[in-house]
């Protein structure tokens, strides 16, 4: 651990804004793992997560001089990652739509799984697919609360939404995931509790 690693986020931001590459490096090293985790949960694929991380790093580097020290750096960074994931998702949809317009057979085929390289046991893949099937606003809320373990006020700060809205979205997301995991007309508690 060097000097920069021992400093607070706020101090590192100030130094990075003053031109210290060491400070910028320490800051991004510190938050690299949460960024990757967030990107992975939002995209469902390690490959797309890396794309999101690269976009977020570039955006962070470009916008850091304008970052105001009265906000939490992590909140700001997570917001950038959420927006980058949204951009990647959108460009993937546009790509799929364009492919479908060129090749009608694509339009009727099932979408590819999030990442063929991301081989998971069946039960894990089912959870991943259920999360990925959520609308973007529900997915962001449940991912930040559940997988990043951010408390509700912090999730609300990242998403710039009222806390009550975020709680409502998390609840809605859980119900949607439950619906995806549990076949109709069965006892939800029995099926979900299976190992």
């Amino acid at each position: 651990m060097n000097d920069a690693d021992a400093r607070s986020d706020r101090e590192l931001v100030r130094l990075a804004q003053g031109g210290s590459r060491d400070a910028l490096g320490a800051l991004l090293r510190r938050w690299n793992d949460p960024m990757v985790r967030l990107a992975h949960r939002l995209t469902g694929s390690p490959h797309d997560a890396e794309d999101v991380r690269q976009r977020a790093l570039l955006k962070c580097h470009a916008a850091l001089p304008r970052f105001k020290a009265d906000a939490e750096f992590s909140t700001w960074l997570f917001r950038i990652v959420v927006n980058a994931a949204r951009d990647v998702d959108r460009s993937r949809r546009v790509g799929a739509r364009n492919a479908a317009s060129l090749d009608p057979s694509v339009a009727h085929s099932r979408p590819a799984p999030p990442d063929a390289a991301d081989e998971l046991p069946e039960s894990a893949a089912a959870v991943r697919d259920a999360v990925m099937a959520l609308p973007e606003h529900l997915r962001s809320a449940i991912v930040l609360r559940h997988y990043l373990s951010l408390p509700f006020p912090a999730v609300a700060a990242v998403l710039e939404k009222p806390e009550t809205t975020v709680k409502s979205h998390v609840l809605q997301a859980l119900r949607e995931v439950r619906r995806s995991l549990v076949p109709q007309h069965t006892d939800p508690t029995v099926r979900i509790n299976e190992p």
């Binding site: 990075a16 490096g25 894990a124 509700f152 409502s168």
Partner: protein, 249 residues
């Protein structure tokens, strides 16, 4: 704590963020309410199930930022900072004069003093760029209305989440659930009812609630209505555009 309060507290309860008092009250409620207990246990199991999706491996320490350009303000940017107040002032002055011209202002100079006089303002026209407002009238069968569902709180939460989604998109102006009584009918029907000659009788459906939403057309409003959970529960939604009446002078 009642069922609605329990449902409102569910996210905090599931993620152990509830205050001790709320958690105690919720525990007591769960002991007496089978529906809320089942919902809590089922969603708790869903929270557990989410952990089956394992953590992704980190892509490692990316050191490419050492090759990135310096973040310090460069000389060109410093120059821009110096010019910024001048340019901003010039733009503000141009806007000021544009406003004066638009308001048909005239500069008068009398006795060495100058003043501004404004021509009579034209009558205000209709406001442009406003989406139409539509009323979604939610009807349901009286049987559905009168039979208390075991999952009422969950259903109400679903409607609320749907409305919150619309509000976030700036598409919701208002929405209310109506009381489950027959309401009042005002007008000639009162006399008819008193005389036993009532000609208008309530239909097979009762009005259960309403939302006022913003949309560009009937198609847009209908698209919103089709996402409402009300349809899932067998209800009917009538969509009516709210008339734009002339404003008071």
């Amino acid at each position: 704590m009642n069922c609605q309060e329990f449902q409102d507290a569910l996210p905090d309860l599931l993620y152990a963020e509830a205050a001790a008092e709320t958690a105690d009250a919720a525990l007591r409620h769960r002991e007496t309410c089978d529906a809320c207990r089942a919902e809590f246990e089922s969603l708790g199991a869903t929270v557990e199930a989410l952990n089956r999706w394992p953590e992704a491996k980190s892509s490692g320490d990316d050191t490419t930022w050492h090759q990135w350009p310096d973040l310090r303000v460069r000389s060109g940017a410093r120059l821009r900072r110096l010019w910024a107040p001048i340019v901003t002032g010039a733009i503000a002055a141009a806007l000021f004069f544009a406003v004066l011209v638009a308001a048909r202002a005239q500069v008068r100079v009398e006795d060495g003093r100058w003043s501004l006089a404004f021509a009579d303002r034209p009558a205000p026209g209709p406001i442009a760029d406003e989406r139409d407002e539509f009323m979604l009238l939610l009807y349901q069968r009286p049987a559905v209305r009168d039979e208390p569902s075991t999952d009422t709180a969950a259903i109400v939460s679903e409607y609320r989440a749907w409305a919150a989604g619309l509000r976030d998109q700036g598409r919701l102006r208002a929405g209310e659930k109506l009381d489950a009584d027959d309401g009042w009918a005002i007008g000639a029907i009162e006399e008819e009812r008193a005389a036993g000659t009532e000609s208008f009788r309530p239909g097979p459906l009762v009005l259960a609630g309403f939302f006022i939403v913003k949309a560009d057309s009937y198609d847009g409003a209908a698209d919103i209505a089709r996402t409402c959970p009300h349809l899932k529960y067998g209800g009917r939604i009538d969509v009516r555009r709210i008339a734009k009446l002339p404003r008071n002078p």
